[in-house]
Symmetry: C2
Subunit: 266 residues, 2 copies
């Protein structure tokens, strides 16, 4: 680790609104969901590392309209994470991610603060980015996380499930038998330890996942689903599996075509 | 579950700044860390459920100075969670929490929106409040989580550890032998499954916890500590345990007397 020198830039973890990338005619100004401190840092940064340069430009355009930018959009330096990082995540150190990540952080050595962003929400949480953060620590750069919406935590708080002991386990398997097996595994951990289990699915499989959960889980297990968080159509529902099956109103107008978070526990 | 009626109030989960309750001569205006939407909802609510009425009044006073309040401070209705919920948490359904929680939500039946707050950060995450949320769902009330700072997630993003599979397990034991045993258990889970393990301690025991972690964990396990999140003295450090031991700069000016989050993984 090198010494922390003021002459080098810091790595800022910049959250983006959750409507990002969602088809919406009238996206809300980003300041509705990003605090003043996050907007101020975003406005003054000129160097970015991102999952997707196109969506980062769209984000910066939205910020520009509200708070201005230190450099015009065309002059912003936007570097993309290696493609391999996108779907599988970039955490595994063995994949040569660390050398690539340090190269992407080169502007910080020249004194530029660098912003890390993902498609929506907080970078490096249920999204790529951790190889960049790890590289920044290895280079002795200051790492500064900024406040913004994090769908997993909005869902956890709204679930009525245990928030003092919880886990997020990523995606569940797509295949029917494997999915049922995984749901039963997660339920067994939750019932035994009291640890709330959180998971996600690609939106077009959300309906199938909810039905699988209702068929597979014990009637007394609590199941919560939060959909379209921070969007106008946002809904969070929570009940015992037996209640979900009896009372169809729990599923009513739950916008499962939008990104959703699933939670189970006791 | 009752039907969702527009005539009844909703339960809003209102995050508060993390400097809340910290001794500071010049606390930042809450809008620095709370987005416009959160500030707007906070300003218009008049009914609250909280861990601590005194600190909620202090929070509302800070909001009043920036955005105004729909009712003067003395007219705000602030109900405290049952005392038992404070330290041990209020999640356990058997403790009669649900009946008490429904009683606290009575204003919502009369059409008042109700805000749930904790001492700092997001209610019901590493803080009491989940019995209230569960009761709201049982009553068929709309539950709306708002965006604000969540120290666990700021720390996770800044740790360089795996953010696609992670768990928060609360406090570790205070007693030396038990603490070492628990740290080894958490390390075993993290190394086996790749799941980042997050935990916390009462601030005055943070120094002892860090030393215990350095003595107990494998040199190749990654350890991260984030202290004083969102405060001016905020520091996040991350390295392999062997690096923490060799390079004292990792511990340099780490404000462990402030609330801190510990993370380990591979």
């Amino acid at each position: 680790m090198s010494t922390h020198s003021d002459k080098r830039g810091a790595l800022y973890l910049v959250p983006t609104p959750l409507d990002f990338g969602m088809a919406q005619d009238t996206p809300m100004p980003p300041g509705e969901w990003l605090p003043a401190e996050t907007m101020a840092v975003t406005s003054r940064l000129t160097h970015w590392i991102t999952e997707n340069a196109k969506s980062t430009r769209a984000f910066l355009k939205r910020v520009e309209a509200v708070s201005g930018l230190a450099a015009p959009l065309q002059a912003q330096q936007i570097a993309e994470l290696p493609r391999a990082a996108h779907k599988k995540g970039d955490h595994a150190p063995q994949a040569g991610n660390d050398a690539e990540a340090q190269a992407l952080l080169a502007p910080a050595l020249l004194g530029h603060d660098v912003g890390l962003v993902s498609e929506a929400g907080m970078p490096a949480i249920a999204d790529p980015g951790s190889s960049i953060v790890r590289a920044a620590h290895a280079m002795g750069l200051r790492v500064v996380p900024l406040t913004g919406p994090i769908s997993l935590m909005l869902a956890l708080a709204a679930s009525g499930l245990n928030g003092q002991n919880f886990a997020f386990v990523g995606y569940v398997p797509q295949e029917t038998t494997e999915r049922a097996k995984r749901l039963r595994e997660l339920e067994a951990v939750a019932l035994k330890t009291g640890q709330t289990q959180m998971f996600i699915e690609t939106p077009y499989r959300n309906v199938a996942l909810l039905q699988a959960a209702l068929q597979t889980l014990h009637p007394h297990t609590r199941l919560a689903v939060c959909s379209a968080l921070t969007l106008p159509q946002q809904v969070c529902r929570s009940g015992l599996v037996g209640e979900w099956k009896r009372d169809k109103r729990l599923q009513e107008s739950l916008p499962l075509d939008a990104p959703s978070v699933f939670l189970l526990g006791r």
